[in-house]
């Protein structure tokens, strides 16, 4: 883990109010693994005070990619950043996902949950078969599809308004894909907490199927020193999203 100035470049709006941005920071890029995130101090002032935790959506040798929706003070400032400007980033943070081989792996994304799954898919593609279930509000918010096409054997889409794919939630198409899930080794889920909770509590009747969720929580430090981002364990006590996750085996947490 290191805290460094990263140079911004290649910012583009890839959906309505959704931005993709590359950050040049070789030390972080070279050690980052799928499942991990960075903390971004959006400016030098203390307003906003905390850094912003953002998933790593992709890396090259020298750069990491982040994808965000403009929803508040922090992301407004990120949106205004121009190529060549710098941001202080801390990372890579969180636990890396353990790679697997020769498996059928299902990815399930809701909304911006697609971002960390891109980096994961790129890493898993070589040795595994991938199937993607992906839902968003409407067609224009289904981002990164071109990048997922060469990575996945099959892609199933849904939109809330039916503008592309099946009308409804991604959970609807996922829960009806029993045959695919029956042959899958595991399911990686990223998206709104309600969606992850719904999938976590669903009776798949497939005892072999492992469920892994990319959890989000209001975060303080992002590096395990403030105990701010708690997720309830099954049984007693809490785990920390920042250092015990952010990707959790859902059989270990109570959502």
């Amino acid at each position: 883990m290191i805290r460094k100035q990263a140079v911004v470049y290649g910012k583009e709006e890839i959906g309505p109010g959704i931005y993709s941005m590359w950050l040049k920071c070789p030390q972080i890029a070279r050690t980052a693994k799928p499942g991990q995130f960075v903390q971004i101090a959006v400016n030098d002032s203390y307003e906003p005070f905390l850094s912003r935790p953002l998933s790593i959506a992709d890396t090259t040798n020298n750069t990491i990619r982040i994808i965000y929706r403009v929803i508040g003070k922090g992301t407004e400032i990120l949106k205004a950043k121009k190529d060549g400007e710098t941001l202080l980033i801390l990372g890579p943070l969180g636990k890396a996902i353990t790679p697997v081989k020769n498996k059928n792996i299902v990815l399930c994304a809701g909304g911006l949950g697609i971002a960390p799954l891109l980096y994961l898919a790129k890493n898993l593609k070589k040795n595994n078969n991938l199937i993607l279930f992906y839902g968003a509000r409407n067609e224009s918010e289904l981002i990164l599809l071109k990048e997922f096409k060469p990575l996945c054997d099959k892609i199933f889409l849904s939109t809330d308004d039916g503008s592309k794919g099946r009308k409804g939630f991604v959970t609807d198409i996922l829960f009806s894909a029993h045959d695919i899930l029956a042959n899958a080794y595991c399911l990686y889920i990223a998206g709104p907490s309600e969606m992850i909770k719904k999938i976590s509590n669903y009776k798949f009747r497939l005892s072999h199927l492992k469920l892994f969720g990319f959890l989000e929580e209001r975060m303080g430090c992002g590096c395990g020193i403030c105990f701010g981002c708690a997720v309830k364990k099954r049984g007693n006590g809490y785990l920390r999203v920042c250092t015990d996750g952010p990707v959790f085996d859902l059989s270990k947490v109570a959502l």
Partner: protein, 282 residues
Amino acid sequence: MTKIKIKNLEFKNPLVLASGTFSFGDKFISVANQMGGIVTKGITLKPRMGNPSPRIYETASGILNSVGLENPGVDKFCTNILPELKSLKTNLIVNISGNSPQEFKALAQRLDDTEIDALEINISCPNIRDCNKMIGRDPKQTYKVVRAVRKQTKKIIITKLTANFIDPLITAQAANDAGTDAICLINTLYGIALDTKTGKPFLGGVTGGLSGPAIKPFALYCVWYVASRIKLPIIGCGGIVSAQDVKEYLLAGSKLVEIGSANLRNPYAGLEILKELNRLRG
């Protein structure tokens, strides 16, 4: 940089990392080692799970937290965590928290034969079940708790006071009479955030403690006000994010300062403030 002493305990510089913002001293050890001291997360007699999430709410130039003293309890702290801290090259101050003089006494007793450098008596955390019963709001209770700890230990005692609905000069006096070696001013301020969509409190613990630059002028005022009226070493705490802030606290009468929320924004904040402080002092 000149060394600072509280009784016989030397601090290599005035910067101490505040309780609840730097784990138990077991993380970022290279940062902790450069500091004058590190205060552990609050330790209680029995393990505490802490509050449900969300535990953090960002405010204007600050944070509300309702972490709620999550810790493994003093026994596990002594057996599992303390041995890992043996290599720390800075003062290790253990923050202890309880509901009664008896609990504080037991905590002090358990920690007295360990190699820790000092105890910080936490009678001011707002994240307890009934925050109106905060010991630090009652000078008599404050006296009893500090007295109970004083009788148990020869270690340096710092009493962390609150400025919530009490004149801290009164409780500082009580802590002084009971034999504290220093006081820390101030702990977080009461705060609440309400979710306008649901109409409910935002934090899992309902209320929280406000910290960060938002509270600095008030915390600094408390230090200045108490320092000019009582002869007792003061550790200033509240919203320190720069060397300039440290200098202000020292001018107001602090002997040492605690850096808290700044660590959440940047775990290397202590180091950066130290470098800047050394530069300012030439």
